[in-house]
């Protein structure tokens, strides 16, 4: 034989297969990838909000006391200043602050469920998952009230000019509340973004509550004990924290800025 094969001792590298270079399981890695794509979707919505908002005239303090008009973008704290059971009481951002508190607390209970899962403590997982579900449902109920109030509107309407196609003149009409076509708070895009951004986030909370319930159910029936680990709690936990994270950004960019 005129050729010989050199014995190459190939050290198997981290990326050559058989190992987890990212240091986490396949399922958790895929959850991270999904959350990345979801983050881009939410970024798209919030950035478009930023674009449209900055392309609309802001409120000019020289006009005196603030009033709603389609001519300028509203100051959010003037729009979101109501709380349930206290009709007519001005409490700017109090209710949305409460919603933020509820969601952050449910994130804490979720991470406590994950911690309990690491210890195979089924009773603690059940307890903390239940608290997380309650937190999510509380948030959704608050949002339902918030939307209702936003759609129905305040006691005094905003007078708005609407072009009448039949007569060809601008009619002055009283606008109460909001829909996708017209609203009493500001330019039509303001309510459109409110419905789309908080709606898309609310839908995430809703599906998160369903997933949390699934995890709770599986924990109660002992599936994870039989499986030998509680990793599903971690995966859904990642999703739930992400929902909380998005709310932090929505809270800042929609309600505060």
């Amino acid at each position: 034989m005129d050729h010989s094969t050199a014995a190459v001792t190939h050290e198997k590298g981290l990326w050559d297969g058989g190992a987890s270079p990212m240091g986490i399981s396949y399922g958790k890695l895929m959850m991270w990838f999904f959350l990345m794509s979801d983050a881009f979707t939410f970024s798209g919505l919030l950035i478009t909000y930023g674009l449209v908002r900055s392309s609309n005239p802001a409120w000019d303090p020289a006009l005196g006391e603030f009033f709603f008009s389609t001519a300028h973008w509203p100051i959010p704290e003037k729009v979101f200043d109501a709380i349930p059971f206290f009709h007519g009481v001005e409490a700017p951002l109090v209710f949305v602050g409460f919603m933020t508190f509820v969601l952050i607390m449910s994130s804490v209970t979720m991470v406590l469920a994950v911690e309990a899962g690491h210890r195979m403590d089924r009773a603690a997982v059940e307890k903390w998952m239940l608290w997380t579900i309650i937190g999510g449902l509380t948030f959704l109920s608050c949002q339902a009230w918030e939307w209702t109030h936003f759609i129905v509107g305040t006691d005094t309407p905003t007078v708005s000019e609407v072009f009448n196609v039949k007569t060809g003149v601008w009619d002055k009409i009283n606008v109460f509340g909001a829909n996708l076509h017209i609203n009493q708070y500001g330019p039509p895009a303001f309510a459109d973004f409110f419905f789309f951004i908080t709606g898309f986030h609310g839908f995430h909370v809703f599906s998160g509550v369903l997933l949390n319930f699934l995890i709770y159910y599986n924990a109660v029936t002992g599936l994870y004990d039989r499986r030998g680990h509680y990793e599903m709690v971690e995966k859904v936990g990642l999703y739930w924290h992400f929902v909380d994270l998005v709310w932090v950004f929505v809270f800042t960019f929609f309600y505060l800025v």
Partner: protein, 105 residues
């Protein structure tokens, strides 16, 4: 026939870790409180917006780093998640800037 259930060993709560989690929750609460104080004391303007963005990033850091455990993951995963967000930041800056140029005069 006797069905053998797997042996489950329940470990005691990791009090140190749980304390750390509550500490993070407290920090998130305090930062939100600061945001409220700023919302009602400072006049509207770029400085206020900038402060809000900084505080939001602080909160996001704690949620992703501690609650989502990213701070303790291997570096390659940490950066694989963080680096793509540069595009988001750039897109935000670019679009908001473009928006200010679109105001009809």
């Amino acid at each position: 026939m006797a069905h053998k259930e797997p042996e489950i060993v329940v470990l005691p709560p990791n009090t140190e870790k749980i304390k750390q989690l509550w500490r993070v929750a407290l920090i998130l609460g305090i930062v939100t409180g600061i945001e409220f104080v700023i919302a009602f004391t400072l006049p509207h303007g770029p400085a206020k917006t900038f402060l809000f963005v900084i505080l939001t990033i602080v909160k996001a850091g704690y949620i992703v780093g501690e609650f989502m455990h990213l701070r303790y993951e291997v570096k390659v995963l940490f950066w694989a998640v963080l680096i793509p967000m540069i595009f988001v930041v750039w897109m935000l800056v670019a679009f908001v800037y473009e928006g200010t140029k679109m105001i009809p005069n």
